[in-house]
């Protein structure tokens, strides 16, 4: 069991409130995943000013800032720790920053790379971690939360969600995949690299691979995923312009979507979104089996 929740704002006037809305959403899914929690925040200009990019890593060396600064002396490099995550920020494109981080700290595990997004994850109670992540202060146009109750691998930061691939693609998952090892091997044969044994990472890499190598859009890549992956899942997939939800064909992992002129939100349990402004006027529905729902900015 895990809890997932996400919100995609359609109305710019709500951008300053993103964090406070997400902060309250955690309460509705905390009980579903008290082991660990992770978030992805899109469009927070204070955490990630324009022209800056972010790389989040686990297992960072203590002097990561100095190591990255040496390679990028003019890029205003900063680092900050959020639970198990070390967040690196610099005034370069994310492709360059992630390359530098991988080079100077090969032992560090990248958990997210973004030009408009930041990712934090770690072990601990979600109600504590939301304070560590300063979630209430976040701003932006889209946010994702995952609370984990580990079932198929250890309780550690590597097993926490979101899982990311490429720039800004984040995926959170409630459920488990049965054939992820096979798909992992197929992707590895195509040159895709992995940095955990987790099943959800395979889904993230698969979608990123389809989008990059096959030129598919997010919706089509997720449709391909639902044809290829076997197992039980409700997934929330987000990118730096989109928000997408899909469930397996039995649709047994709970999820509810609320669509409002000002926002779209989803959560494992209704109580996580019951506080959203205008919820009483929102169109509320449970997504159908094997149907892909996408919203684009």
């Amino acid at each position: 069991m895990c809890g997932i929740a996400g919100i995609h704002l359609r109305d710019e006037s709500l951008v300053p409130q993103l964090g406070s809305l997400m902060h309250a959403m955690v309460e509705g899914i905390e009980v579903r995943g008290p082991d660990s929690a992770g978030v992805a925040i899109y469009g927070d200009r204070e955490r990630l000013p324009e022209d800056y990019s972010s790389v989040s890593v686990l297992n960072a060396p203590e002097n990561l800032k100095e190591l990255v600064s040496e390679k990028l002396p003019d890029a205003d490099v900063t680092t900050e720790d959020f639970a198990d995550t070390t967040f690196v920020r610099a005034k370069v494109k994310s492709v360059e920053l992630s390359k530098v981080v991988a080079e100077v700290a090969p032992e560090a595990i990248s958990i997210g790379t973004g030009d408009d997004s930041v990712v934090y994850k770690g072990v601990g109670n979600p109600l504590d971690l939301r304070e560590t992540y300063r979630l209430a202060d976040a701003t932006g146009w889209q946010g994702v939360i995952h609370t984990r109750l580990a079932t198929e691998s250890a309780v550690d930061a590597e097993g926490a969600h979101p899982y990311t691939a490429g720039t800004g693609l984040s995926i959170v998952h409630n459920g488990s995949f049965a054939n992820h090892a096979t798909i992992r091997r197929e992707l590895q044969d195509e040159g895709v690299e992995f940095n955990s044994e987790n099943d959800t990472e395979v889904a993230a890499r698969y979608i990123a691979y389809r989008m990059k190598e096959k030129g598919e859009d997010l919706h089509t890549a997720i449709e391909a995923l639902s044809e290829t992956f076997d197992g039980f899942y409700t997934l929330l997939v987000t990118t730096e312009d989109s928000f997408a939800v899909v469930r397996d064909e039995y649709a047994c992992k709970p999820v509810i979507i609320a669509e409002h002129p000002q926002w779209v939100a989803m959560a494992s349990e209704f109580q996580a979104i019951a506080h959203l402004p205008g919820i009483e006027d929102a169109k509320i529905f449970e997504p159908g089996p094997k149907k892909v729902y996408t919203w684009k900015r």
Binding site: G28, Y250, A251, C252, P254, I256, E269, F270, Q271, A274, I284, F285, E286, G288, P289
Partner: protein, 228 residues
């Protein structure tokens, strides 16, 4: 239960836990209860066994009014998965939408859902009645053995898969029927029971509107998958 004089007790779930509420409802000291601030709590009003009336002011989580007997539970909000699961008798009335597995395995009683019911509504129904005023999700009435389900809106995929003797009355479109579930003739006795169910669900006007009643289609088992 001793005969109680009509009294209403308020129970605020912001102040007391669900377990205390349910213990009170299992040995009721009043005829009517009003439950405040449920805020999506699970297992609210499970296991009622007396003719009491419980009104819940807000949204509830999983398994609300499960194993219900004799009483009436009204939810002025949404219900999470498994509402009125294994209900035996009495009435459970959801004013908003209900999540998956509403009325699963219900042996008796009436579940009324004013909004939509999600997937697996009435799964393995064993004699209870369900009236959904909105739409009903996929895989509903799977292996339903007895009882009736009325859907005033549309229904999703694989409705009534492997159904036994439950009867389905659906007014809108059905995305697809499951294995061994077929469209059936609406005879006078079916029309009568449909009218009664609509009345029981508070739809007097619709029940008296012949054109409305005529717009329903009956579905049930083709009886090719089971033999007794």
């Amino acid at each position: 239960m001793e005969t109680l004089t009509q009294t209403t007790v308020e129970f605020d779930l912001a102040e007391k836990p669900v377990r205390e509420l349910n213990q009170e409802l299992h040995n009721p000291t009043a005829t009517n209860y009003k439950v405040l601030n449920p805020r999506g709590e699970h297992s609210v009003a499970v296991g009622i066994n007396d003719p009491i009336e419980v009104e819940i002011e807000g949204d509830v989580g999983y398994y609300c009014a499960g194993m219900h007997q004799h009483g009436t539970v009204t939810v002025n909000g949404m219900a999470g998965p498994g509402v009125a699961e294994n209900m035996m008798s009495g009435t459970v009335h959801i004013k908003g939408h209900a999540s998956q597995s509403a009325g699963a395995t219900a042996h008796g009683g009436l579940l009324i859902i004013e909004g939509n019911a999600s997937t697996r509504c009435g799964i393995s129904l064993k004699g209870g009645d369900i009236v959904v005023k909105g739409n009903m999700g996929s895989k509903s009435a799977f292996m339903a053995q007895a009882g009736r389900i009325v859907v005033c809106g549309d229904a999703g995929e694989d409705i009534g898969d492997s159904i036994f003797e439950a009867r389905l009355y659906i007014r809108g479109e059905v995305a697809s029927l499951g294995a061994d579930c077929v469209r059936k003739e609406m005879r006078e006795e079916h029309r009568e029971e449909l009218v009664q169910l609509l009345k029981d669900a508070g739809m007097e006007e619709e029940a008296n509107d012949e054109a409305y009643v005529d717009s329903f289609t009956r579905y049930g088992s083709a009886r090719t998958l089971y033999n007794f």
